[in-house]
Symmetry: C2
Subunit: 452 residues, 2 copies
């Protein structure tokens, strides 16, 4: 007899876990909708021609590939079999792979469905992705991504609205966060000004360590990357940048005066911060020049959200990009988007104990019955409550009181209605509040009022 298990790095979700996950996704979705974002879904399997080469060599390795159906080995040349080259054989044995992220499928979707969709196209997508990564704590081979993007619009109103979405989602979830913001154009301006345009990644990585290792070590590291002494000197005012966002911007305006792209970045940042003021965004926003996620991908604003009360990586992030769909033959499609990290948000809510006490998935009332007659007596009561939208169960088996109460307990059902001969004779039930232990005999009319 086989002992059942699931592949490593994958998970089952029990009803309790699902209720929590649904709470997160429902909260996020309803905020997305407030801003006119609409859901799409794409297939779990994509053609390997769509996926390969989009995530680097390492990504190609981490794609889960689907073995071709039928007699997949028939057409493979004997020399290829005997050469035992897994990379080459993959192409002959497989033509489909599992979705690795939501970005590439989204780009493919936009191009393939360009005639069916309305631009600017505001979409959200919440689906699992699969990666053959080595599983470890907090890293899974199957996990949900939750992306929201608008493509076909350059307006900074979109950046603002994504910040408002972050603000509202975390307000609703009760998680205190700060939002870090940067702009790729400012980073480009800095590299331009110091005359090291091609070293922008090295510089950003080093700046990122300022808090940890201090100014001297940062300068050492930058020098070790082959950046000239004069460039490092020019960089010093940027490393000393301080004060409020406005103050930082004022300093950047002076430093970057000679860089067109840099000044464009400063202007964009200024506009976004002004817009945030207009709608009183309450999440603290910090201009952070060390923020450089996906640097080669982003072309404008870059965002990252951190939880203030839990030590955990970023829980949301994203930015503006150009040419999402160029690789699929459709140029000039720029956009901006962010991604919510569902697994981390789940952990944060757990650690801070922020889940609501009750949720719509739960049963509100259980009828505890001592016999078939009592069950039948409960049926119209249960129906009347369900018709009012109340989640109700009748314990289906003829079990001991203790077992039935234990069922209510373990399902966190807040009320039970106990039905015995006396209750039936008086057209009542004995209502018990499982939190307080209080009991009282009630009619159907009273029951509704008590539990709703």
């Amino acid at each position: 007899m086989q002992k059942p298990s699931i592949p490593k790095g994958t998970r089952d979700f029990t009803p309790e876990e699902m209720a929590k996950r649904n709470y997160i996704f429902d909260t996020i979705k309803s905020v997305f909708r407030l801003y006119g974002y609409q859901q799409i879904e794409t297939p779990a399997m994509e053609n390997l021609s769509t996926l390969m080469g989009k995530y680097g060599d390492e990504g190609d390795k981490l794609l889960f590939k689907i073995l071709n159906s039928g007699d997949f080995i028939a057409g493979v040349p004997e020399e290829d079999l005997l050469s035992r080259n897994s990379v080459k054989l993959t192409k002959e044995l497989s033509e489909k792979g599992l979705r690795y992220d939501l970005t590439v499928p989204f780009a493919r979707f936009v191009v393939q469905n360009r005639d069916k969709i309305t631009f600017p196209f505001k979409r959200y997508q919440i689906q699992p992705v699969w990666r053959a990564d080595r599983p470890q704590k907090g890293r899974y081979r199957e996990f949900y991504q939750c992306d929201v993007d608008v493509v076909g619009s350059d307006s900074l109103i979109n950046e603002l609205e994504l910040i408002q979405i972050v603000d509202e989602v975390y307000r609703r979830l009760g998680i205190r966060v700060c939002l870090k913001i940067n702009n790729r154009k400012i980073l480009s301006g800095i590299a331009e000004i110091i005359g090291e345009a091609d070293k922008i990644v090295d510089i950003t990585v080093a700046i990122d360590k300022l808090d940890k290792i201090g100014l001297d070590k940062v300068n050492e590291e930058i020098a070790s990357k082959g950046i000239s002494q004069s460039a490092i000197e020019k960089l010093q005012p940027i490393l000393h940048l301080n004060g409020t966002n406005r103050e930082k911007l004022a300093q950047l305006k002076e430093i970057l005066a000679a860089s067109e792209v840099g000044m464009k970045g400063v202007e964009e940042m200024q506009t976004i911060l002004d817009l945030c003021d207009k709608v009183s965004v309450s999440t603290p926003i910090e201009l952070d020049l060390t923020l450089a996620r996906g640097l080669n991908y982003y072309t404008g604003a870059i965002f990252e959200v951190k939880a203030l009360d839990v030590q955990i990586g970023s829980i949301t992030g994203g930015g503006r990009y150009d040419n999402l769909t160029g690789v699929f033959g459709m140029d000039g499609m720029s956009g901006v988007g962010i991604s919510f990290g569902a697994d981390r948000i789940y952990d944060v809510l757990n650690q801070l104990n922020l889940y609501p006490q009750t949720n719509k998935e739960q049963t509100r009332l259980l009828f505890v019955c001592f016999g078939k007659e009592e069950q039948n007596y409960s049926l119209p009561w249960a129906l009347a409550l369900r018709n009012e939208g109340v989640n109700v169960e009748i314990y289906p088996e003829l079990a001991k009181m203790k077992k039935q109460m234990g069922y209510a307990d373990s399902k966190h059902i807040p009320f039970v209605a106990i039905v015995g001969e006396t209750e039936m004779a008086n057209q009542q039930v004995m209502l018990k509040n499982m939190m307080t232990g209080e009991q009282e005999l009630v009619t159907l009319h009273e029951l509704k009022a008590r539990i709703m």
Copy 2:
């Protein structure tokens, strides 16, 4: 440049399609919850040891298998490579497969999580499944299943509640249906009485054709299966069964009097029909002896739901089974469940044009702005409406009026608020009803009242 496409038999879902699908799933889920069913999810990938052998030889072939990661070819013996036996090589190249249905993963889940869950365990599960079937109209390689089951309880209250769920789901969706019901024990009783217990499938298949080919042809077909003339004679009263469900049951009681299992089936059927009367199920229920879905799997009640106003196969079906989890080493776990066919329900709602005019996914109001100043003016208005839960968009680009109105049209947005200089000066917007074409100047306070 590659022209993007998706694997055959798979689909993208556009926002409009997703809104319709979400409407179906949300309706079904909220009814499931009324009856205390809770959601679970299982991984897309299962170990092949969990899946293989559970769906017959044909099913084994139709499983999508995942190519092992890394240097998958290294350990495969040369003779196996050269033998080119795809079935044998599958075992060496793959150890995981994609979920083929929700039943086997559910059984695996129950066994693996037996200590975490509460019995009777009432769960629903709505997830995609994958089958390497030849794609054709209405048959896909990726499609959602929507299953609801209770395990660990023999009570017929469960059968009743599943019927109530069917009743309420289709009432809410506005689809007129009838529910056909049979009982495997009655079929066993019939086979027993006529002395042909092993021919039960042949007999049921033939009876199924009664309406189409008539009594004589049915008898011919039964005889051709090697069933004795005396058995066929004994079968005649069953073929002539008619009248109401009660009348049919009365006749069956006489015919099956000598069969213990048959009489048990009649009694179960009687009880279920009695319970339905107690809660006034409004869906017409028809006792149909020809109903025999998954005969080898079901052990008690068998259900099937047909739409009355559309020619399409069954849109919901299921029944009672024994020993769901025996194959995973946990015996005696009986249960009952049904499955809703989401794709067919989608088609029925489309054909009958039963989707609600508006849905919660849609944007309710679009701000049409003639300049950046107008956009900025709209921001606090939009925020005020969103704070009341209204889905609102501001057209982000500075585009011509016609383009902005076209955007509202194609997203089916029912109201637009046009903002120009005059409106700003008067602290108003020009509200246009996109259905009626009516326009009026309104304040923010009036706007809320008009569109909510």
